[in-house]
């Protein structure tokens, strides 16, 4: 088999997990777009083009996992803040549980080749 290209490998890993990273960043407090995007960008390899987060946020809002509210900003115009809905919280909790099981299983296989 051809060695997987690093780019496409990361793209595939990102695809299913990025939205939960966004939800996780909103777990403790609402954030405005720029702040949210920069926090995600700080995590290595998660975001290559910051702008691609906005279509995802739009999806999350339409799916009812996130809502937006406007808040005054200390500097400049009011900002749109994203916050979790209770449904978003449930989705994040479910993902967290499944993710732990999933990574445990994968870790196990990667480290020991599946031997007990």
């Amino acid at each position: 088999m051809v060695p997987a290209k690093r780019e496409s490998l990361i793209t595939q890993l990102r695809r299913g997990t990025l939205e939960y990273c966004v939800l996780a960043l909103l777990r403790d407090q609402p954030r405005y777009g720029f702040d949210l995007v920069r926090s995600l960008g700080a995590a290595d390899g998660l975001v290559t083009s910051e702008g691609t987060i906005y279509p995802l946020l739009s999806r999350l809002r339409r799916d009812g996992l996130v809502t937006t509210t406007w808040h005054e900003s200390p500097s400049g115009p009011p900002r749109r803040y994203y916050q979790l809905t209770s449904e978003g919280r449930r989705a994040l909790a479910l993902f967290t549980t499944e993710w732990d099981r999933f990574t445990d299983a994968v870790d196990h296989l990667l480290r020991q080749g599946g031997s007990p």
Partner: protein
């Protein structure tokens, strides 16, 4: 300085708008607003605001085409399918076919000009559009046969009137039938053309 930077930002947002044109209008506006707010917040965080700084902000946002691709995927919009252009010639031909007299003639001519129908389709269209010729010939022969009334048995009055009704109605009914048939053939072609390649 500020105006140069503003122009840079404006151009970026215009590019993005262009890339997003196949998205529903409300989604497109939403994304443009949010990216615009992102840029505004990022610019406010620059101290001092330099052109290089703003360029970096735009670079980090990424290529508008990438954002649009992501949007299509997240929103579930297909890349604009290569829709076959509306076959105007064929549509006009079909419409003309059901318009008596001049329409029948011009309709048949257009049917033959089309490259979308097969020869068989065209023959059926012609038969429909030209059925008045057949009906005319039929009428002449019937009346001639009726007046001659030698050899073959003459037609009874009820048969004659039935024949007359058929001959009068045929030029009006057959073109409609042919037009409907040609319309179906056209739709079949569209469905086949737009079917995704496997």
């Amino acid at each position: 300085m500020t105006t140069e930077v503003d122009a840079l930002v404006l151009r970026y947002l215009q590019d993005l708008e262009g890339e997003l044109r196949d998205l529903p209008a409300n989604r497109r506006q939403e994304l443009l607003d949010e990216v615009g707010e992102h840029i505004a917040a990022a610019r406010a965080a620059l101290d001092p605001e330099t052109e290089a700084g703003v360029r970096t902000v735009l670079e980090r946002l990424g290529d508008p085409a990438d954002i649009a691709a992501e949007a299509r995927e997240r929103v579930g919009v297909q890349r604009p399918p290569v829709r076959p252009a509306t076959p105007w010639l064929e549509v006009i031909a079909i419409v003309l076919l059901v318009i008596p007299f001049a329409g029948w003639v011009v309709g048949v001519v257009l049917v033959w000009l089309s490259r979308l129908w097969t020869t068989r389709d065209k023959l059926i269209g012609t038969l429909g559009g030209m059925s008045w010729v057949l009906a005319g010939l039929g009428t002449v022969m019937t009346s001639a046969g009726g007046s001659r009334a030698v050899g073959s048995a003459p037609l009874g009055p009820s048969e004659t009137s039935l024949m007359a009704v058929v001959l009068v109605a045929a030029p009006f009914v057959l073109p409609v039938v042919a037009a409907i048939y040609l319309g179906f053939r056209l739709r079949g072609r569209d469905a086949a053309a737009s079917a995704p390649p496997s």
